[in-house]
Subunit: 149 residues, 2 copies
DNA sequence: ATTAAAGATACATTAATAATACGACTTATA
DNA sequence: TATAAGTCGTATTATTAATGTATCTTTAAT
């Protein structure tokens, strides 16, 4: 019972973009440098975030991506649901269980899952950062500088 | 993001035991017949449930196991937490992330997880069965009869 | 036009972990 | 004392997440 690293990476990318208050585009390369992740994997997550229209991507030279909404408009439940995939947390049908017709387990787990997401709905990417986000921005800047050195 | 089948099996076993209103012991063999599961796996889950003192096991000839509490005393959050393992749903430490010191993600996911379990705390094994549980008992009886045939 | 930078996409491989199987041991009782 | 039943450790298999490789497309600078 764990969120995928894929989802984790997605959240970090959004956090990174939110920490930048300039209007410059960020590249996959930059993300890799800061978080020390493989370009291949980041690639996929960035693409996914683009398809979800959470970020706007621009191909070609001097391309990159940036948030397409303000950080406080990006609700965590949505991001996690989409990146994680919204399958039921228990699969009572494919591995068929004789009890299914008279069992309320599935429904309860579904509701419990919704409680999890409902809680996260009240928080956004802006809420991920302590204080103003300046602390995080500093960490990122330093990390980028030392990676480029 | 899925509960383990292991946890699922545990819940089914408890449900099965709850559906029996006689005082007879149930055997691993019987569980396997009813749910069509491998004995080896059920073995481990039964053992685990015994260690959690949710069931009382009796070795030797004519042995078996039965619930050590009434179904309405067994809260689902406890069962799932124990069988599933109570690790954080996101691991920000072992795969170290530079953002950690200034990031509130971990705390939010932890709280969200608690919301999930808190919801389940209000339900017990007794609540898993529709109505009086008679329907489920019938299903199990039929399944057992046809497996033994 | 050409070239280099950047994301898009498909496919292959590796690593992690859940699921299952096997086998030996212990306990209890008919 | 034979046998049924749970206990427990280890090994194997299957599934899926994670990562890697390669190629394509787009875009802007030169």
């Amino acid at each position: 019972m764990q969120l995928k690293k894929y989802t984790d990476y997605g959240l970090r990318i959004l956090m990174y973009l939110a920490s930048r208050n300039d209007n410059k585009l960020t590249t996959i390369r930059e993300i890799c440098d800061v978080f020390d992740l493989s370009a291949n994997h980041v690639n996929k997550v960035v693409h996914h975030l683009g398809q979800l229209e959470l970020i706007t991507t621009k191909r070609g030279k001097n391309g990159g991506f940036s948030l397409s909404k303000t950080p406080s408009e990006i609700h965590l439940d949505y991001v996690i649901r989409q990146l994680e995939g919204d399958e039921p947390w228990i699969d009572c049908y494919s591995s068929y269980c004789v009890a299914v017709p008279a069992c309320k387990l599935r429904g309860l787990i579904l509701r419990g899952k919704e409680e999890f997401y409902q809680y996260l709905h009240d928080y956004t990417v802006a809420d991920l950062m302590t204080g103003s986000g300046a602390e995080l921005a500093t960490i990122f800047r330093q990390r980028l500088a030392s990676a480029e050195a």
